[in-house]
């Protein structure tokens, strides 16, 4: 039962990793930019949930449409105002501009909200569901279901809509897509906006579980990079499966062997896999979906 509980907790953790990684993955897969600001975007979105919950009394889960649209708009503005200007430039400029953006967003949150650990509470979220002896919170189950729906939505959008098809075309063959009349710059902006909006989805679903503070995006941002790289850059389902695998491996290792070494274990596996399978666990690189 201890092993099953550890695995269940790992799946719940993996769902959170998958949600955070999804936006990062889309942005990398399409815009080809390593977005160090994704963790900070998550932080901003979490504070957005907090504001709507505490000042307007909106249930954190019901803030989803507002937070997603606001984050999408923020992502669009950031892309047009910053990212678009460095797309053709050297990789170091791109990295530094997203790193600078992350610092600016984090410190803006600190200045506005202070460093206190804030929280939102959903009464039913902390209720416990007993699944044959394996106990999980309702909030974790909602995060897991939300992650599955988000991946399905993302896949459907990319494969069943004209905009999604255009985004995939730009991701795979930007020059050919331009020749076919697709406005590549607009597709980049759209992908960045959706990627940032996905940070909003992650924020809403994880807000009842974690304390909100200016540094919260850091740890999840780093883990999202691991997930994206191991899952195969640009592969939506590859990243989601990898996120679940990492969550379960980390949790089971921590429970059965050693808690302190569990993060080191994940990074060690990451290094080994990067040597053995440089294209990621599922062998796909820089394709969208």
């Amino acid at each position: 039962m201890q092993l099953a509980s550890a695995a269940a907790s790992g799946i719940a953790l993996g769902a959170i990793y998958a949600l955070v990684a999804a936006g990062l993955n889309l942005i990398f897969g399409v815009v080809k930019i390593i977005n160090f600001a994704q963790g900070a975007m998550l932080t901003v979105a979490l504070y957005g949930v907090y504001l709507l919950d505490t000042h307007l009394g909106i249930n954190p889960y019901l803030t989803l449409p507002v937070v997603v649209v606001a984050m999408g708009a923020l992502g669009y503005v950031v892309h047009i105002g910053l990212i678009d200007r460095v797309l053709g430039k050297e990789r170091a400029s791109q990295l530094l501009i997203t790193f600078g953006l992350a610092m600016a967003l984090k410190n803006a949150c600190l200045a506005v909200f202070g460093a206190d650990h804030l929280s939102v509470t959903v009464a039913f979220g902390s209720r416990v569901v007993d699944l044959g002896g394996v106990r999980v919170t309702v909030a974790s189950l909602i995060a897991l279901g939300g992650a599955a729906l988000t991946m399905a939505f993302l896949y459907g959008f990319l494969h069943r809509t004209r905009a999604g098809t255009a985004i995939r075309a730009v991701a795979q063959q930007p020059d050919s897509a331009r020749l076919a009349g697709i406005n590549a710059r607009q597709m980049y902006a759209l992908a960045f906006a959706i990627g940032t909006a996905l940070a909003g989805v992650a924020a809403v679903l994880m807000s009842p579980i974690y304390a909100i503070e200016p540094d919260i995006g850091d740890a999840f941002g780093v883990m999202a990079f691991i997930v994206v790289i191991l899952g195969g850059l640009g592969s939506v389902f590859g990243a989601a499966a990898t996120a679940l695998l990492i969550g379960v491996a980390q949790s089971v290792f921590a429970t059965m062997i050693n808690v302190q070494m569990s993060t080191a274990f994940v990074f060690l596996v990451f290094i080994v896999l990067m040597i053995v399978r440089p294209n990621g666990l599922f062998g796909r690189t820089t394709r969208v979906a």
Partner: protein
């Protein structure tokens, strides 16, 4: 007419310039040689993490010290000498802490740095202070390894982590053993702690002191404070079926641990936490019912400490400033604010007057003055006394046991500082 006005302006400008030059000379002298010979102020740097991950409690501690220093100025200063306060932010980062400490010494010519909230931060400041012969007046960090052996510019007013372990074992022996119906060596004790300097030092002190009492430690779990999920820690602890859990987390991991304990239905007869378990975030997140009965070991949460047994001076300051803290900052003066009040009080009421009387306020005169401190129990706002060893440790510092009762963190042990009796057993998760 215009020429006369111009001449008047030149004369006034000349006088003002001369006065400014004299004032500048006076201040420069103060900076270089400290207070003495009638120089006008004592320069104190407050260096705490007021931004970053440690900011919520670090800010409380800084505000606690600042209230005392301002209180001293409002009451005539230290033997007539005013205190000038310089505030610095270590940004929860040891590297930044060392840089800011050096800047405070070079640019502000502070004669004492009061800090630091966290052991990792204090470890970075201590060598800077020592190198510059400036006292680090430590009111918050508890790891025994903060200062190098032989560092005579380090003075700590609060008890080291050994006092946490001593209070835990005293409470186990003096209260919980009887309630559990077992002698202390038969109580199944689990120890868990974050793996930074704070948690590790408390864990090590518990194991070391527990050996003398044949403590039956059934689990010892260290975990990173930044863990995204503490279910594994809870599952490992639960498997050992402890009667009592002694846990030392920081603020961030406490809600995650408590939620995981609730999810996994991990019940113990008593849990004694510290740090994160005494923060206002803890009760905000889980509500009064959710934290009811949880114990905490630390220096006292002075807002809910009985001040009747303190000396008149300590009681007056505590009663006034804990009320002022609540009205100014909107929450109670709990453990870390109390550390600031207590440490600041010993500095301005006991040590600095002797340093001023010695003729010059310098790192050496402050340290020499601290060596003569001899305050009996009840003589500081935290209820314990003060006497500093050669290594700068307050040999009379104590930690106490508090308990969350009806949403307030109340001192329950020892009796002389208690506001209420300890309640036993802790409610199970089904009863919350």
């Amino acid at each position: 007419m215009a020429a006369r006005r111009a001449g008047t302006f030149r004369r006034r400008f000349g006088v003002a310039l001369g006065a400014a030059a004299l004032a500048a000379g006076s201040l420069a002298g103060c900076g270089q040689s400290g207070t003495g010979g009638g120089t006008p102020e004592i320069r104190i740097g407050l260096l705490f993490p007021t931004t970053g991950g440690m900011a919520s409690l670090g800010t409380d501690q800084s505000n606690g010290v600042k209230l005392v220093l301002e209180w001293a100025n409002a009451h005539g200063g230290v033997s007539g000498t005013k205190i000038k306060i310089f505030e610095g932010d270590s940004q929860s980062n040891p590297g930044v802490a060392a840089t800011v400490a050096q800047r405070m010494i070079d640019q502000n010519q502070v004669q004492v740095i009061v800090g630091s909230y966290a052991s990792g931060i204090a470890q970075a400041i201590a060598p800077v202070a020592q190198r510059n012969r400036v006292v680090l007046w430590e009111v918050g960090a508890v790891a025994p390894t903060v200062a190098q052996a032989g560092d005579r510019y380090f003075v700590r007013t609060v008890g080291a982590s050994t006092t946490y372990a001593a209070a835990d074992l005293d409470f186990l022996d003096g209260f919980l053993a009887a309630k559990l119906g077992k002698p202390i060596d038969q109580i199944r004790v689990a120890i868990a702690h974050e793996d930074g300097p704070f948690g590790t030092s408390v864990g090590q002190a518990l194991v070391a002191q527990g050996k003398a009492k044949n403590l039956n430690v059934v689990a010892q779990e260290a975990y990173p404070e930044t863990s995204a999920d503490l279910t594994p820690v809870v599952l490992r602890l639960k498997a050992t079926n402890p009667d009592v859990l002694l846990i030392s987390p920081l603020v961030a991991s406490t809600p995650l641990f408590w939620q995981a304990a609730r999810t996994q239905n991990f019940n113990v007869k008593a849990i004694i936490g510290s740090a994160g378990f005494s923060s206002s975030t803890f009760v905000k997140k889980f509500g009064a019912k959710g934290v009811e009965g949880v114990y905490d070991v630390e220096p006292p949460a002075v807002a809910h400490m009985n001040s009747a047994n303190l000396t008149a001076d300590a009681k007056q300051l505590l009663d006034e400033l804990r009320t002022q803290f609540t009205s100014t900052f909107g929450h109670d003066c709990l453990v870390h604010c109390g550390d600031g009040l207590g440490g600041g009080y010993i500095l301005v009421k006991d040590v600095l007057p002797r340093a001023v009387a010695a003729g010059a306020v310098t790192g050496d005169s402050i340290r020499a003055a601290a060596a003569k401190t001899d305050i009996a129990a009840g003589g500081t706002p935290q209820g314990f006394g003060a006497k500093f060893s050669d290594s700068g440790e307050n040999e009379r510092a104590r930690s106490v046991i508090m308990q969350w009762q009806n949403g307030a963190l109340v001192v329950v042990y020892p009796k002389e500082l208690a506001m209420a009796d300890p309640v036993y057993p802790m409610p199970t998760w089904d009863q919350r």
